[in-house]
Amino acid sequence: MLYSEKVMDHFANPRNVGEIEDADGIGEVGNAKCGDIMKMYIKVEGGIITDVKFKTFGCGAAVATSSIATEMLKGKSIEDALKLTNKAVVEALEGLPPQKLHCSVLAEQAVKSALSDYYRRQGIDPVPIVGEIGECEACH
């Protein structure tokens, strides 16, 4: 199986690893049984995502997709962040092997999960805005 250079770079040198203590939103998706967990922290100021951090338990692709997703989020408005798709994550990584595509789905869900938590903390029901965050299909 071949990973692109971009995937290997993000795996070997993951960006934005860690936690945000006073995060405005925290999302966690996946489960240990399937071998993938992504936890994403966001800081929001004036509707803009000013900081993103992540922690991931998973394969090379799982680490790389979460890493690049944090890069893609930083500086974006919440509205734009909601539009982040797994396809965009895959493109930014210059492709993923077919059996690893579910990792990009997980990254998209991690972002949505963090945004949902942000809305919830604001007293806003996230479901009409973010939608339901389904379980990763590949895990079932």
């Binding site: 290997m8 795996f11 070997a12 993951p14 690893v17 860690g18 966690e28 240990a32 049984k33 399937c34 071998g35 993938d36 967990i37 992504m38 936890k39 922690k55 991931t56 338990f57 998973g58 394969c59 090379g60 692709a61 799982a62 680490v63 059996q99 690893k100 590949a138 895990c139």
Partner: protein
């Protein structure tokens, strides 16, 4: 610490040795004849195959006429089990016994036969990855066609009580096949003494080239032809022989079986140093029995770590290893071998197999012992699962029971 390159995946494959290559090369350029040809060039090739067959026979204690060359271990496994099923199934023997942690060459053959109306008993291995002759005895029925049990497991290196299982099968008059792909060259084998009716071997695990192997079939056991065509392999497996590969295999198995006790002494000392050193890492466990174990096999799980990440970071440090994680198995389930031990998925995902050889050095062992803890620590530092473990979360309580303490 200076970066080294260490090949610690000898259970996956091995390099062709100089000795084997030297034996093979003339068969490609000078003695290239077809063994079926009448002139000297052909006769020389035939003689080379005869010599190789004798070398193989000598290595496992049988006669040359009982050796059939194949493309490798998988072909030999397929052939042995399907042949027994086809011949004995007709006589109403439609039951097969194997274990739940065999190589897929055996398991998938059995699954295929299940679809053809055979019933298969998959004996469960115990938590240490062993089965007993008693389990086999209890499972044998009137209609049992064949028992197929691996000699040594490819992932966790556990060695089965083959002689005792063979005894039971002989007593009950049931065919006994063993997949000895990982065992040949690592444990002394004598098919006559060990009551083995059929045995599969692969060349590339013992420094021959890929795509070569053999099936031993005890004299008198009827066999179904595998490939129809010319008269090669006594008409059982047609097709012009792969002379260089066969000659290489003869040389490789001779070399591998020359001094097995010395190899075991040397390699198992390094293996034990690796096991003792690596299991000092908190929340780790050795998979597979500590004693009944191949001399080169180390298989350790780290909770909170995912196997593929571990392999990629080991690779970045020059160490070639393998894992039973889902991500490396090509499916979403971790290795069936680790699950057969009763391990939770979380523990199976974080496994690492090192398979060392006589070429491994003490310096290599030192280097691995330095690198592995660092790599595990790095992965754990960014693992939310490790965070849950440290915080004593409910979801990790079950997997924690399978590993060494956190502190």
């Amino acid at each position: 610490m200076e970066k080294r390159f260490i090949y610690a995946d000898n259970a996956a494959t091995t390099a062709v040795s100089k000795r084997v290559l030297d034996a093979m090369l003339p068969c490609m350029t000078e003695h290239f004849g077809n063994p079926s040809s009448i002139y000297k060039l052909g006769r020389d090739a035939e003689r080379a195959i005869t010599d190789a067959r004798e070398k193989v026979a000598k290595a496992i204690g049988c006669s040359a006429s009982e050796i059939y060359f194949t493309s490798g271990g998988s072909e030999a496994d397929n052939w042995a089990i399907r042949s027994a099923a086809i011949r004995l199934g007709k006589k109403g023997k439609k039951h097969i016994i194997t274990t739940n942690f065999e190589h897929h060459a055996v398991l998938h053959t059995c699954e295929f036969l299940e679809k053809q109306g055979f019933e298969v008993t998959y004996l469960p291995v115990d938590e240490n990855g062993l089965i007993t002759a008693e389990q086999v005895r209890d499972a044998i029925r009137e209609d049992t066609a064949i028992v197929s049990i691996m000699y040594a497991n490819n992932e966790i290196g556990t060695i089965m009580p083959i002689k005792e299982i063979g005894e039971v099968c002989r007593e009950k008059k049931v065919l006994f096949h063993t997949d000895a792909v990982q065992a040949v060259g690592n444990v002394p084998i004598n098919v006559a003494e060990q009551n083995i009716d059929m045995l599969s071997c692969s060349g590339h695990k013992i420094h021959a080239q890929k795509g070569t192997g053999f099936l031993y079939i005890r004299k008198g056991i009827p066999i179904v032809n595998l490939i129809f065509g010319g008269g090669q392999e006594r008409g059982r497996r047609a097709g012009t022989e792969n002379v260089p590969a066969i000659v290489g295999l003869g040389e490789a198995i001779t070399a591998a079986c020359e001094n097995i006790p010395a190899k075991i002494a040397k390699v198992s000392a390094m293996r034990d140093r690796l096991i003792d050193g690596i299991t000092k890492i908190p929340c780790s466990r050795l998979n597979g029995d500590r004693k009944q174990r191949l001399c080169g096999n180390v298989n350790i799980s780290f909770l909170g770590v995912e196997g593929e990440s571990l392999l990629l970071l080991l690779d970045a440090n020059g160490i070639c290893a393998s894992s039973g994680s889902a991500c490396t198995s090509g499916s979403l389930d971790p290795s069936h071998v680790l699950l057969a031990l009763g391990l939770p998925h979380e523990v199976a995902h974080g496994s690492m197999r090192l398979s060392i050889s006589e070429d491994t050095t003490d310096e290599d062992v030192d280097y691995i012992l330095e690198v592995v803890p660092k790599v595990v620590e790095r992965i754990r530092a960014m693992s939310p699962l490790w965070e849950d473990i440290q915080n004593g979360k409910e979801n990790v309580q079950k997997p924690l029971k399978f590993v060494s303490p956190l502190n």
